[in-house]
């Protein structure tokens, strides 16, 4: 290695060092500590920490509350994500079709995604409350009033609605970025060849947008299992655990049951789960592009 290369390496290390050190202390250390502690019986209520091997993990896998939270979260993701994709794609098509005020429409449409989740949560509680605007509107047109956040089914629907509201704009703008990358010659040529609008969309746009669709699905799957602020504020997991999602269950195990070792094991399981799903989707996509 030449002297110049060595000198450059030293320079590089100096540049990385501060960020690396901070990451080691604040990110890596807690992460490793958490993983190690998942093998211990570590509760805030007692000072002793005994090694129990996979005890926490086995317990989690047969824990009704933990399992329900995961199934519930999966159901949540499987309903929310298709909605986000379909509506997002539809709006992306609209916003790239030369409508009036297109630029402003895009800028305004992104709002929900950046709004503070805590504000969204409280605002949603306000809107879905028994005297809130939704109930007042629906009684105005003759539908019966719904106790949204106090009913197990409606509460779940409510958090779904808010999730779709918050993330569809993100999905839409990502797909829009993809659409804008499609050369117009392709679309024009197919129009000349007599393709109808729908044929164009399905045979040109959708296939070319595939990497973006996969990206969005992976992103939103991961996001669905991390979501905390909004449902926590809207329902706190209730009523009767109807809206208890994965990260909220983790929070409950850690801060209500005060069983940190168990909570660490649960989060490791969820983490592995998400890694597996992401890998499957990624590898599936990479295989397809290789063909």
């Amino acid at each position: 290695m030449s002297r110049i290369d060595k000198e450059k390496k030293v320079f590089g290390v100096k540049l990385v060092m501060p960020a690396l050190l901070i990451s080691l202390c604040v990110l890596l250390f807690p992460m490793v500590y958490s993983i190690i502690m998942s093998f211990f019986d570590w509760r805030l209520t007692s000072p002793s920490r005994s090694f129990i091997g996979f005890g926490n993990y086995l317990r989690a896998l047969s824990d009704f509350y933990f399992q329900s939270a995961i199934y519930r979260n999966l159901l949540f993701a499987f309903i929310s994500i298709p909605f986000q994709l379909i509506v997002g794609f539809f709006v992306a098509l609209l916003l790239s079709s030369g409508i009036k005020g297109e630029k402003w429409a895009r800028i305004l449409f992104i709002m929900p995604f950046f709004t503070t989740p805590a504000v969204v949560g409280f605002n949603a509680r306000w809107i879905f409350s028994s005297r809130g605007i939704l109930n007042q509107l629906s009684s105005g047109i003759g539908l019966s009033q719904v106790s949204w956040l106090a009913d197990t089914n409606f509460a779940f629907i409510a958090i779904l609605i808010v999730d779709i509201w918050q993330f569809t704009p993100l999905v839409c703008l990502i797909l829009l970025a993809g659409l804008q990358g499609i050369p117009t010659e392709l679309e024009d040529a197919s129009a000349v060849d007599g393709a109808s609008f729908f044929q164009r969309v399905f045979y040109i746009n959708v296939p070319l947008l595939r990497p973006y669709f996969v990206l969005v699905i992976i992103m939103q799957m991961i996001s669905a299992f991390r979501i905390f602020d909004v449902p926590y504020i809207m329902t706190g997991g209730g009523p009767a655990d109807a809206t208890m999602l994965a990260s909220m269950q983790l929070y409950r195990t850690a801060f209500s049951s005060l069983n940190f070792g168990y909570a660490s094991a649960q989060s490791c399981i969820i983490l592995l789960f998400m890694l597996v799903i992401s890998s499957i989707l990624l590898i599936g996509e990479l295989r397809r592009t290789k063909k």
Binding site: V26, S34, I99, M111, P117, N123, D229
Partner: protein
């Protein structure tokens, strides 16, 4: 014929945009209504008042939480730029031992739910006697934003042709000078995106502040919203006002940089 369809599309598009903006507009409207009108459904803008805002600031003292949030978010952005940008440059240009490991680790941390590491982090902070201070939040949030900041900046740096740096070095400029004076200015758009994203995600955070801070006076605005709950119920009027205040920076950034932000996030991710 063409124009007719364009009008239909315009109408539908703006109807959808309106539908998505409705909750935010409703929040704004609620915050400007006096208590007696809070639950009315009329869209009238008569009788609007700033009273709720005054109550929020005077009675609930949200200016304290507001300044905490501002201080926190700005500090995190500055620290992220100071530490994250050089790191991104080194990781994108120079082959350092352990480079891949560090990058993979950063990507991994983006998937981890914060709940998983928050407890050990809290214990760490209490060991160094930093709990309940804004400093602990600054340190935690800076680290949490590193993956995003470094990734965004790496993408930007990779777009800068190496020839420019080589030419500058041939002219005798030191490594650091090349970095700071030549390359960094070239990624200004990517830098702004990284800065704004770091600000927004720090500003919006709830969980980290909730766990690391116990005393109200050091709390952020996001958590401060929950202080409008009491045994008498929720003070919806002042809370809406506080909510609007909390949304102001976010809306401003979204208005000015929203599209660029999403494009930056999207194109970067697809390239990976």
């Amino acid at each position: 014929m063409r124009d007719k369809w364009n009008l239909v599309r315009t109408f539908v598009a703006w109807a959808v945009v309106g539908l998505f903006l409705a909750p935010i507009v409703w929040l704004l409207l609620t915050s400007l209504r006096p208590d007696k009108d809070l639950f009315s459904t009329s869209l009238s803008i008569t009788g609007l008042t700033f009273k709720q805002y005054i109550i929020a600031f005077k009675t609930y003292g949200i200016s304290r939480y507001l300044s905490n949030s501002i201080l926190l978010s700005l500090s995190v952005v500055i620290l992220n730029l100071i530490f994250g940008v050089p790191a991104a440059y080194a990781l994108s240009r120079i082959s350092i031992p352990g480079k891949s490991a560090f990058i993979i680790f950063l990507m991994f941390m983006r998937i981890v739910p914060i709940v998983a590491i928050i407890i050990p982090l809290f214990l760490l902070m209490s060991r160094v006697h930093l709990t309940n201070t804004l400093i602990s939040l600054v340190i935690a949030h800076t680290a949490f934003k590193f993956p995003m900041t470094i990734w965004l900046c790496m993408i930007s740096f990779l777009g800068v042709p190496v020839e420019i740096e080589e030419a500058a070095e041939l002219d005798g400029a030191s490594h650091f000078k090349v970095f700071l004076v030549i390359v960094v200015p070239m990624i200004l758009p990517g830098l702004s995106v990284a800065a704004i994203v770091a600000f927004i995600y720090t500003w919006n955070d709830l969980l980290v502040a909730l766990i690391l801070i116990n005393t109200r006076s050091s709390q952020t605005l996001t958590v401060g919203l929950s202080y409008f709950l009491s045994e008498y119920g929720i003070a919806w009027g002042p809370m809406s006002a506080a909510g609007v205040v909390a949304l102001i920076p976010v809306i401003v950034f979204a208005l000015f940089a929203g599209e660029a932000l999403v494009k930056g996030l999207a194109s970067g991710a697809v390239k990976m």
